[in-house]
């Protein structure tokens, strides 16, 4: 049976979840932008703009301790972080380009090493996705095989309706359980009229063809044209729902400290710096080449997926105007 929820009841749903001790994360105004952040009240939710950062930090925080240590009289005490202690979380208002990234990232985080910091958070999170009725000229989810109404990665999916409120579709057991937990907030909906989906101008690209070209063109001089301008600023990687590189450092003193994992980026100059001083990616266009290769070839080689959901954040925020859609669109014509 098709379900729907009013805007008021959505707010009530979030307040009820908060009252029961769940962590509720959704787009919230933070200074000059909206960010996916923990909400204190349901009415903090803002759904009229794409959050500036992606939702990946729900599963993959910007910075987290992975263990702590302290030198005591009894010797060096090491305390692990317990992934079982991560809180039950509901991520609400995840755009299709953000929700779809999590199932793509699952592959690398459960590959040769099962990363419980990520996986435990994934298990404990219910994702409420939200369809997009607006798009701008940087959006290109349609180019990479996704859509403004795409349900990949959502447990429950909301589509804005004519006259207000949202049509809801449960896609997984988690989604079903959420509706079952608060049946009074959801209503049966016949003849649901949803608002038209956004229509990004970006045409669908042939990802196989793009990968085919990348397979053969590692040394092509086109990389200098594309990326000599890249400043290596890292904004693209940090705002991207799919980028997941990280650095691990020990911080503190010999007496007391923590081992921390924080976001890293292949665009950084020192990313591939060897202890010997040799750097195989010694100039910026080689580093940008890696970005394209990883997203549109290597991740496909390893896991059969494209490591990009077309959210457009890298395009909007690149200080030197590098347009990843233009890059892959050009490659797809070769």
């Amino acid at each position: 049976m098709a379900k729907a929820i009013t805007e008021q009841n959505l707010c009530l749903l979030l307040d009820s979840l908060l009252k029961e001790g769940a962590r509720v994360i959704g787009p919230k105004l933070a200074g000059t932008m909206a960010l996916y952040e923990p909400l204190a009240h349901g009415d903090e939710l803002v759904l009229d703009q794409l959050p500036h950062r992606s939702a990946k930090e729900v599963f993959f925080p910007v910075c987290e301790n992975i263990l702590s240590f302290e030198r005591t009289d009894a010797g060096l005490q090491v305390t692990d972080v317990d992934p079982a202690a991560f809180p039950e979380t509901v991520l609400v208002g995840a755009r299709p380009c953000d929700a779809a990234a999590a199932p793509v990232l699952d592959a690398v985080f459960s590959w040769d090493y099962k990363d419980e910091f990520y996986l435990s958070r994934r298990r404990r999170t219910t994702v409420i996705g939200l369809a997009c009725t607006k798009a701008d000229d940087a959006c290109f989810c349609t180019a990479v095989g996704l859509s403004p109404g795409g349900k990949e990665g959502s447990d429950l999916f909301l589509s804005p309706m004519e006259g207000g409120g949202y049509a809801c579709e449960a896609l997984t057991d988690k989604g079903e359980r959420l509706i079952a937990r608060y049946p009074q907030l959801f209503m049966d909906a016949l003849n649901v009229q949803t608002l038209p989906l956004a229509a990004p101008a970006a045409e669908k690209l042939d990802m196989k063809r793009i990968k085919g070209w990348l397979d053969e063109n590692f040394e092509n001089p086109i990389w200098t044209d594309i990326a000599d301008r890249c400043a290596g600023c890292g904004s693209c990687a940090f705002l991207c729902p799919a980028c997941h590189c990280f650095d691990i450092v020990d911080e503190g003193t010999q007496a007391k400290g923590a081992r921390r994992k924080s976001w890293d980026a292949c665009g950084f100059g020192k990313f591939t710096n060897h202890a010997s001083g040799h750097n195989p990616r010694d100039v910026q266009n080689k580093r940008y080449r890696n970005r394209i290769m990883h997203k549109f070839k290597y991740y496909g080689d390893k896991f059969g997926e494209t490591l990009c959901t077309g959210c457009g954040r890298c395009i909007r925020n690149c200080p030197v105007g590098i347009d990843i859609y233009s890059v892959i669109a050009e490659i797809s014509t070769k």
Partner: protein
């Protein structure tokens, strides 16, 4: 707090034909310089895919000169591409570079610090009415409402010291300064209030280092903050490391920063970095009577010691 649009007048500041004139002049000169092999590469701007956007263009083929443009979207400080970090660009040979007045302050600084030789560059200065701020819509003209904050207080609309000056701008309207106002507000705060102000902003820092990467003066081949033997600044995005990073950077830029505000524009978390740099610039002016300008200066105040230097801040 970024280069966000001021909600005022929507009258275009200058006629769009002025941009056409600058564009023509740049294209003609670039084609000539490359054809005559007076330069090996021209660094300018070209149109992006998305309407109204531009991006840096690094061209070696005279035929590509026809792609160069100048518009109010030409925000980038192209002096970035002349630094040590961009070996792959510098290695090409003599360079022609399109430069607005604020960019020329960066060029003057790099010349003064012996990072480039004057004979190795051909400066195509542009008479610039201003560029659009971060809040501006892509396809609207430059107005008093959407002009970048730094441009409201510009004193270098007509760059001196260039080899060529492209375009004309005529009379420009008086604009109410915004950065000076924010600086005054900052200076009116107590130490505790100021600490809280910056701490709040830096709590949003994710240590992407975009501010460093787009800055023409952050050209150290090994940034102090990347060293780990020994480590001076923690690299994780946490309060101590974030505060240290921004203080170190502000100190290293004091007296050098050209006020191009690229750091603020590039910051993905909208931290008002130019405000911090303007504050430091103000301190240097007050203590040493020094201001970064269009004249290359060999030794800035923090690179030189004089017997009669003000020492009042040493407590």
């Amino acid at each position: 707090m970024n280069n966000a649009a001021q909600k005022t007048d929507t009258t275009p500041i200058i006629d769009t034909t002025c941009y056409a004139a600058a564009t023509e002049a740049i294209r003609a000169e670039a084609a000539k310089l490359l054809t005559e092999q007076k330069v090996a590469v021209v660094i300018g701007y070209k149109a992006g895919r998305r309407a109204g956007t531009t991006l840096p263009a690094i061209i070696t083929d005279p035929a590509k000169a026809a792609e160069l443009i100048f518009s109010p979207a030409c925000v980038n400080n192209l002096a970035l591409y002349l630094t040590k970090a961009k070996k792959e660009v510098r290695g090409k040979g003599r360079i022609a570079i399109v430069a607005k007045g604020c960019d020329m302050r960066a060029l003057a600084g790099l010349l003064g610090e012996s990072q480039i030789k004057r004979e190795d560059i051909f400066i195509m200065g542009v008479n610039c009415a201003g560029v659009k701020g971060s809040g501006a819509l892509q396809v609207e003209p430059l107005t008093t409402g959407n002009i970048a904050r730094k441009c409201r207080e510009c004193a270098v609309h007509t760059p001196e010291g260039a080899d060529l000056v492209a375009g004309t701008i005529g009379n420009l309207p008086e604009l109410t300064p915004v950065e000076a106002q924010e600086l005054a507000e900052l200076e009116a705060m107590t130490s505790a209030e100021r600490w809280a102000f910056w701490k709040a902003h830096f709590s949003r820092c994710v240590r992407c280092m975009a501010c460093r990467q787009v800055c023409p003066f952050c050209y150290c081949e090994q940034c102090l903050c990347d060293r780990n033997c020994p480590q001076a600044v923690e690299t994780t995005p946490r309060p101590a490391g974030n505060m240290a990073w921004h203080i170190v950077r502000a100190m290293h830029l004091a007296g050098r920063c050209a006020g191009c505000a690229e750091c603020e524009r590039a910051c993905p978390m909208d931290i008002p970095l130019n405000l911090l740099n303007r504050k430091m610039a103000g301190e240097l002016k007050e203590l040493y009577g020094f201001e970064a300008g269009l004249e290359p200066v060999q030794k800035g105040p923090l690179a030189e010691y004089k017997e009669d230097d003000d020492q009042s801040f040493i407590k």
